[in-house]
């Protein structure tokens, strides 16, 4: 069991983090204090052309991992700015690991001919994650993730997320049942500009991980969320599937229905991406720079509610968070299992924001 809230302003209007902090606070029962976190899109408009790396180091600033990672980053990228991420220890969260953020761009001549800039960044992320005591919390342009051990409302205070503003926010309240709770294991999980918050426990994990490893990913965190993010990333970025098709691969229709409709493209997708199907209960909110996708498992074994108020969309594990943010809504509905809800930023805002 976990709790999720997402807020998307499709017209690019930015709001501060206090709204989502309060919205996730009222889903306190869905977590157990072993993990909470937030992702904010539009956090760094002045650096929107650079990859924003949030990196967590075990211990404090004297951990040799800090200089090891920074030496590595210097060797691979132009780092324009680096700073400690401010934290505000309090009674409930008196201490935590050491967080820094870096704004960087790849050194272009280092890219191999077939490699895109994003492939290159993913390589850097994978490398740092395999280093001792260091972990990349987020790595996308204009995106920041703040997460750790504790209830999400306390994590929000620890990072003072009300100081950040964004056009899209997601929050997660964790009740870990598989992997032990730790700061890096909290959600959201992010790769480049793609962020996943997830409620569920995927039973296809072993199949999915092996497929990802075959495609060059290393799943070090052993969490379902990591796997979902990488699958989506592999499908959309590397294999160039549309968002709809990527969702279809993860939660396809029944073979019977494919037969009935005679839809050969769907059959093809399911045939070739059998190892990327996600089974088991899940409700996810997947955000990317141009919008969000809300997806449930085929059997609808986890709750997700969506709502619209003008140009703002909400997704939540429970309706109460939506009603808290906006007692009156234009539309509220519970998406069917396996049918993705795709929310796109309005034209004209995409470029300006990314």
């Amino acid at each position: 069991m976990c709790g999720i809230v997402g807020i998307i302003n499709t017209n690019g209007q930015r709001i501060d983090g206090s709204h989502i902090q309060e919205a996730i606070r009222i889903q306190r029962d869905r977590g157990n204090g072993l993990g909470g976190g937030f992702a904010v899109y539009g956090a760094y408009p002045e650096n929107r052309d650079k990859y924003a790396f949030h990196i967590m180091y075990e211990g404090d600033r004297h951990n040799p991992a800090v200089s090891a990672v920074e030496d590595y980053l210097q060797s691979k990228a132009n780092v324009y700015q680096s700073e400690q991420i401010p934290v505000y220890p309090n009674n409930r969260i008196p201490r935590g690991p050491y967080f820094k953020r870096y704004f960087l761009k790849p050194i272009e001549e280092f890219l191999s001919p077939q490699q895109t800039e994003e492939d290159y960044i993913v390589e850097i992320v994978m490398h740092i994650n395999s280093m001792q005591d260091a972990f990349v919390v987020s790595s996308g342009k204009n995106v920041g993730v703040f997460k750790g051990m504790g209830y999400p409302e306390d994590i929000a205070d620890y990072f003072r997320i009300e100081d950040y503003r964004g056009y899209m926010w997601v929050a997660h309240n964790r009740f870990p049942t598989n992997t032990p709770g730790w700061w890096g294991g909290a959600h959201p999980f992010t790769i480049l500009d793609k962020t996943v918050v997830h409620n569920g426990e995927i039973t296809s994990y072993g199949t999915n991980v092996r497929w990802l490893e075959m495609n060059g990913y290393q799943c070090l965190l052993q969490t379902d969320t990591e796997v979902i993010s990488y699958i989506y990333d592999n499908l959309t970025r590397r294999d160039k599937l549309s968002k709809r098709d990527a969702c279809y691969v993860m939660a396809p229709t029944l073979w019977e229905e494919i037969d009935r409709r005679g839809d050969e493209k769907d059959r093809y997708l399911r045939q070739i991406y059998g190892a990327a199907i996600i089974n088991g209960p899940f409700g996810i909110v997947l955000t990317h720079r141009d919008g969000a996708i809300v997806l449930n498992d085929r059997n609808k074994l986890r709750p997700v509610v969506c709502a619209q108020v003008g140009s703002t969309y909400y997704a939540s594990s429970e309706e109460c968070s939506i009603r808290f943010l906006s007692p009156e809504v234009d539309r509220i509905w519970s998406p069917r299992g396996g049918e993705p809800v795709m929310i796109d930023m309005l034209e004209g805002y995409k470029e300006a924001l990314s």
Binding site: M1, G206, R210, L269
Partner: protein, 507 residues
């Protein structure tokens, strides 16, 4: 070998025992003697208390290997089989080894032949592997309420979206019937296999003995084999099937060929195999046009060209020590499907020593092959079929979790048709009419009944697989392929766990 008898009597380890109180000999019943195709039961005149001479059943103590046909056919339930092993007092020299030598030193001489798969004490890994199940944190799925999908597609798949997909076999249950040739089994058995697989939506395999013309109407559910003897292979033969399988080896006898004795090559078999009636049908040990992997590639592409790339080409190999690199090579040579047959795989005839001592278990072989293909990034270019020793539906699912896309079963088909596992398939005397073409015996297979039995088998295993999947919270079987995380080992050492890529229970 001079055919000299020993001057002592070698008593077979089994014999029928008759409960004369129950036996209906008084009314002239002779069913058991007629049913025993091995000549173990004869009728013996005995003067009854009333002075009448009547014929009672009598165990000859010459031929019984506990096929249980007489037991099952006796209307009075008056027969049971007694086991009388030749116990030795020696702890090391068990009766099996001693009696094999007695047989060889005596009239039998030569290479000892057996049917069915290996019987040795090697570990059955399936029994040391346990499934996971959902508790609290995720819900199990009830197959009675929710759709549960066990369909598989076999064949080459592209690495990514946009590239062309090869021809596929659609399996509505992830189970196919493995190769059992016409000659080894009879036409009735093959017809039942064909009808059952057509009804359920899967495939059967002709084996290397050709494809009888009467059965070609079932071609859409048939995989035809091209083996080293090339029996019955023609353009029509290839084109009549849904897939073509090149047989390199089989688990019960890796590295050796086959031999169908001339006396079994009757008219229909001679026509189907395209060899003269009464001539021995010899399959050489290797294909004489495949002495290396490049030769295999040429044959694969020769078949693909002949078939205009419309059907997948499978390559069947026995599970041997180096199975992983061999599988990788076969995948790169162009195979669309690779069938790996473990050392427990059945056969109609194999030398005892080969059956018991050659090859490796399918559980380890399929895991190693799947891992190797993943490491090389070519897992999706080929489908893996596991076989050899699969005895129940949970074995099927465990094989899938260990990396198989589907399985072949052979012995379960025979058992479903009555087989008592007496291991004398090569004798041509099968009391159930399965591995014989002898008139009078073959008719013991009723095609309608046999078809229903095989449909029941596929259906029952399919339903059991759905139950197992539901308990694990899986609703689509592709989410289990190579899903080692849903397995745990019990009583396995570190090396075994590493090869199977599973954790020990409790970890």
């Amino acid at each position: 070998m001079n055919g000299m008898e020993n001057n002592w009597k070698t008593i077979p380890p089994f014999h029928p025992a008759f409960d004369i109180e129950r036996c209906d000999y008084k009314n002239g019943c002779t069913i058991c003697a007629k049913e025993c195709s091995f000549g173990e039961i004869s009728l013996h005149p005995v003067k009854d208390v009333d002075g009448e001479v009547r014929y009672r059943p009598w165990a000859n103590l010459t031929a019984c290997n506990s096929c249980q046909r007489c037991v099952k056919m006796c209307p009075e339930g008056a027969i049971h089989i007694e086991h009388q092993p030749m116990h030795t007092s020696h702890g090391y020299w068990t009766s099996d080894y001693a009696s094999n030598i007695w047989r060889q030193a005596g009239a039998e001489g030569g290479v000892l032949l057996v049917g069915n798969g290996a019987t040795g004490p090697q570990k059955r890994y399936f029994d040391h592997i346990m499934f996971d199940a959902c508790q609290v944190t995720n819900p199990s799925i009830d197959p009675l309420r929710e759709p549960m999908e066990i369909r598989r597609y076999l064949g080459r798949k592209p690495a990514r979206y946009g590239e062309e997909i090869g021809p596929q076999l659609k399996l509505d249950v992830p189970i196919m019937f493995g190769a059992m040739s016409f000659g080894a089994v009879n036409k009735r058995v093959q017809e039942a296999e064909a009808r059952a697989t057509q009804a359920v939506g899967t495939y059967w395999n002709t084996g290397e003995g050709g494809f009888h013309k009467d059965l070609r109407i079932y071609g859409e559910n048939t995989i035809v084999q091209v083996a080293s003897g090339r029996f019955g292979v023609s353009e029509d033969y290839l084109k009549s099937a849904a897939a073509v399988e090149i047989k390199i080896g089989q688990g019960a006898k890796p590295g050796i060929g086959g031999h169908l004795p001339g006396e079994k090559v009757l008219k229909a078999i001679s026509e189907t195999r395209m060899i003269p009636e009464g001539s021995d049908a010899l399959s050489p040990a290797p294909h004489h046009d495949i002495y290396s992997i490049e030769d295999l590639r040429q044959l694969i592409y020769a078949i693909k060209e002949a078939m205009e790339y419309r059907v997948p080409v499978s390559v069947k190999i026995a599970a041997v020590h180096n199975v992983a690199p061999i599988v990788s090579g076969v995948a790169r040579a162009g195979a669309d499907i690779i069938a790996i047959d473990g050392f427990r795989g059945g056969t109609g005839a194999t030398p005892l020593q080969i059956r018991q001592s050659t090859g490796i278990p399918i559980e380890l072989a399929i895991s190693a092959a799947d891992k190797r293909l993943r490491e090389e990034g070519i897992r999706e270019t080929v489908s893996l079929v596991a076989s050899g020793g699969i005895m129940c539906s949970s074995d099927v699912l465990k094989a899938i979790c260990l990396g198989a896309d589907a399985v072949y079963v052979g012995t379960p088909v025979l058992v479903a048709l009555g087989c008592g596992l007496c291991q004398r398939c090569f004798s041509g005397k099968c009391a159930y009419g399965i591995t014989t073409n002898k008139p009078g015996l073959a008719e013991r297979i009723d095609v309608e009944q046999a078809t229903q039995a095989l449909k029941n088998l596929l259906h029952a295993w399919g339903e059991e697989i759905k139950e197992l999947m539901g308990s694990m919270g899986i609703s689509a079987i592709e989410a289990l392929r190579s899903n080692r995380d849903r397995l745990r080992g019990v009583g396995l050492n570190e090396e075994e766990l590493k090869i199977l890529e599973i954790k020990h229970a409790g970890a």
